[in-house]
Assembly symmetry: C2
Homo-oligomer: 302 residues x 2
Amino acid sequence: MLPFSRVAILGLGLIGSSVARAIRAAMPTVRLSGSDADPAVRARVIELDILDDVADGAGAAVVDADLVILCVPVGAMAAVAAEIAPELSPGTVISDVGSVKGQVLADLTAALPGMAIIPAHPVAGTENSGPDAGFATLFRNRWCIITPANDADPLAVERVKSFWTAIGSNVEVMDARHHDLVLAVTSHLPHLIAYTIVSTASDLEDVTRSEVIKYSAGGFRDFTRIAASDPTMWRDVFLSNKEAVLETLQRFSEDLSALQRAIRWNDGDALHTLFTRSRAVRRAIIDAGQDTAAADFGREHE
Amino acid sequence: MLPFSRVAILGLGLIGSSVARAIRAAMPTVRLSGSDADPAVRARVIELDILDDVADGAGAAVVDADLVILCVPVGAMAAVAAEIAPELSPGTVISDVGSVKGQVLADLTAALPGMAIIPAHPVAGTENSGPDAGFATLFRNRWCIITPANDADPLAVERVKSFWTAIGSNVEVMDARHHDLVLAVTSHLPHLIAYTIVSTASDLEDVTRSEVIKYSAGGFRDFTRIAASDPTMWRDVFLSNKEAVLETLQRFSEDLSALQRAIRWNDGDALHTLFTRSRAVRRAIIDAGQDTAAADFGREHE
């Protein structure tokens, strides 16, 4: 038994197009519709042939769907929800893939009163954007966090869980507020720092941009990958999870000051102790199947 | 014509053992000797059979060598130089692979008066350590920066350049002080930040360590790679390049504060502008052949 038989995907970028491909691969009998605000994206998705029906508008795409997944930037959720509200059938489950959950749960609940709203966040992605960047295996062995309201219909929660399990994810159910705190640390802060260091490196007077590029293999290049992620998506994430991001950032700044002080005062023991501890964290991530054990992320040498 | 015919490698970890393997691959007639302060490493290198002769001490390893490469942590350079001083033949070229060059040039010059000292820094590595982690292609298409003193013998500089070119590197000659400023940005600051964020994430009360591990694919896991690098090496780097690291760190902190303020005051335009700029830097690094164009560093997605 499939959890859903007619799925509508709104927003056909990296994540939306990957969801479509993953459904095609895992549940080929599901009827897939979708739309995107950008006509060029819609035209490309038709060429790619990853949906049964690409509608010109979000409203038309959701007619008759039993699952609607919003794959738009977090700041666009409320507007898209308002746009589809008149077209939804009773009993349709509404979900999303946003990286912030408290704001999205509030926005969808306000725009779609009485509907089954089961927000979700697949913790997966790449630095690339757009429908060509998607692929069917993006969610395999990655966690998908589902953050229903306390009074959500348990059956709808189960169906969304089954859906993500079917396309290869591990599933966890969590309070939206806790999700936003956890992801502030594991995702939002890393992106913020990556964007910052790229900016710092670009603005130096004594070191040229060409030198930064040439010698980036010393570590800098690692940061540029996540700093190449979609600017609109990330602007919305930081503005929608402001409280948790600022709190986490404050802690990071304090820790950075402590390290700065250890360097200034030649406290080699403090540095060594801290640096030693990091190896265990890396090892745990590899053991949990959340990163490759291959050296240098398995990058090609040659 | 080979630039050197008898090479001694002191320190047989990731970099030293990779240099040995690269020489074997590119210049198989070179006679290779070496040593390591750790008896277990020496024993393992004998098993790996990557040197012609593994000596019990640094002094014995350098006898008759025409090139000696110190592949030890930056803080150990002075002591190793003092140890080998009595055994060196006149005309032997002394080089190293340290990530800091001003301090190393000063230390080697003081310990080895009258010798040809040509410091070098191959901007290459992985997060792994020890002789098993090395491989022959580590330096291919990576930059090696050579930082001779102003009065260095030009012929010795040319020979060291030829050596690194022969094992696949691109070579640049640079003032040691400028090297330390450039690498503070492209390597030392990234490592410092990576170590800090791993520490911040490990110390939260409201988010468990298990959650940090599970949801690390949101970005955090990228930082844990370079934060798994050798603690002794990195302690020495920060203490030996203190001035440039602290200056760069101060600029980073200012940029981070500006971003923090933009979030607090909902300045979405400032965020979007900054985030958009980062993509060009990533693209330039890929175009320069210093990172893979493959999504997600080419990590396997099943």
